[in-house]
C-alpha cells in the first residue's frame, strides 16, 4: 500500500520573525524526499511540526488525506530522528532493540562492530556508534514514514555509505524525509528534493537549482 504524507499552509513565527510561510512537502511510500536549506531556514522546525513537537501558527498535515489535528503522533505513522542524541544513556543495546522490535543480527550484518555491545549500556558507545544506532532504530523500525534530521553528522564515511544503502532498502517499506548539510549524499539517494529559502519550499528540478537558490556551489 502506498501511503502519502503531506504538509502545507505552514505559518511559523518566532517573536516577530516569520520562519516558515509557504511550505509544501510531500512524502510517499517508496520515495525519499530530500530537504535542504541554509542554517536557520526552518528545516528542523518543519520536521518538528510534522512530528507534533512544535506548534506553528497554522498548518495542515495529512496522512492519506486524514488530517493530523492534535500533536499526538502514532509510531505506526511517523518516527523522527532529531539532530541531537535522544536515546537515554542508561539503556542497553538489547533493551533498545527490544523496544523497537528490531533484530540484533540485522544490525550486526550492517554494522559488525556492534557485536560486542549487545549487553552494553549506551554510554559505553562512542558518539559515532551511538548516532549510527539511533539512525538504525528510527530507519528500520516499522512505521509508515520516518524523518531523519542530519543523519550523516558524526558518522564516518564508510558508515555513511552503509546508511545510504539502508535508506534505499527501507524506502521499499516507507516514505523517508531526510535533511543534512552533506547535500551530495542527499542528492545521491533522494527521489525529490526541496530547498527552503525565505520560508518557502522550492521543488528543485535540476542540480543547478540548488545553486540558484543560494544553498551551495554545485561543481
Amino acid at each position: 500500500m502506498i501511503n502519502i504524507l503531506e504538509v502545507d499552509s505552514v505559518i511559523l513565527d518566532f517573536d516577530s520573525k516569520r520562519v516558515l510561510q509557504d511550505v509544501y512537502l510531500k512524502s510517499e511510500t517508496g520515495k525519499i524526499t530530500g530537504l535542504l536549506g541554509r542554517n536557520g531556514t526552518g528545516k528542523s522546525c518543519l520536521m518538528k511540526i510534522l512530528f507534533g513537537e512544535l506548534i506553528p501558527n497554522d498548518t495542515s498535515i495529512r496522512i492519506n488525506g486524514n488530517s493530523l489535528i492534535s500533536t499526538y503522533r502514532s509510531p505506526k505513522d511517523l518516527r523522527y530522528l532529531p539532530q541531537t542524541n535522544f536515546i537515554p544513556n542508561s539503556l542497553t543495546l538489547k533493551r533498545i532493540l527490544k523496544d523497537f522490535e528490531l533484530d540484533f543480527i540485522d544490525l550486526t550484518n550492517s554494522f559488525p562492530e556492534f557485536k560486542k555491545y549487545y549487553n552494553s549500556k549506551l554510554r559505553s558507545l562512542s558518539g559515532g556508534e551511538r548516532r549510527i544506532l539511533e539512525i538504525y532504530v528510527i530507519l528500520v523500525s516499522r512505521t509508515k514514514f520516518c524523518m531523519l534530521d542530519e543523519p550523516f553528522s558524526q558518522v564516518m564515511p564508510i558508515h555513511v555509505d552503509t546508511i545510504k544503502k539502508l535508506i534505499l532498502r527501507e524506502r521499499e517499506n516507507k516514505g523517508i524525509i531526510i535533511t543534512d548539510h552533506m547535500y551530495k549524499h542527499i542528492i545521491d539517494i533522494c527521489d525529490s528534493l526541496f530547498v527552503i529559502k525565505d520560508g518557502k519550499t522550492h521543488l528543485t528540478k535540476t542540480i543547478q537549482d540548488i545553486e540558484t537558490l543560494d544553498y551551495a556551489r554545485v561543481n
Binding site: Y72, S74, P75, K76, R79, Y80, F86, S141, R142
Partner: protein
Amino acid sequence: MFNLALRKYEPFIGVFGLQSVCETLPTIIMRAIRLIFTFYKSFAFASLMITLTCISIIYTWGIDTFTALFWFKIITLGLIFYFTNSFKKDEFYYYKNFGLTKMHLWAPTLIFDFILFLILIALTFKIR
C-alpha cells in the same frame, strides 16, 4: 466500530495496526509500562531521597510537621519536573517515538511518586 473504540489506547498500541491489536495489546501495554518505568528511574533517586528525608523528619518530630512536608514534597516535585524537562529534553523524543507524550510520562510517574510518599508517611506515623 471496534477500531474506533480502540483509538483511545493508541498511545499504547505502538507500531502495530489496529487490526492486530487483539494479539499484541499485552505486549504493547508492557512496553509502555517499561518505558514509563525507565522514565521514572531518571529522577526516582532524587525523589526517593526527598521522601526518605520527609519520613525521617516525621519520625523525629511527629505529625505536626506534615503540612510543611506536604508542601515541601510538592515544591521539590515541581523542581524535579522543571529540571528533568530542561536537562533531559532530548530524551523525550525517545518516548515520543513510541507514542508516549510528556503527559503520558509525567502523569503516572508523579502520581505514583506522590502516592508512595503519602503511604510511607502514613506507615511511618503508625510505626512511630
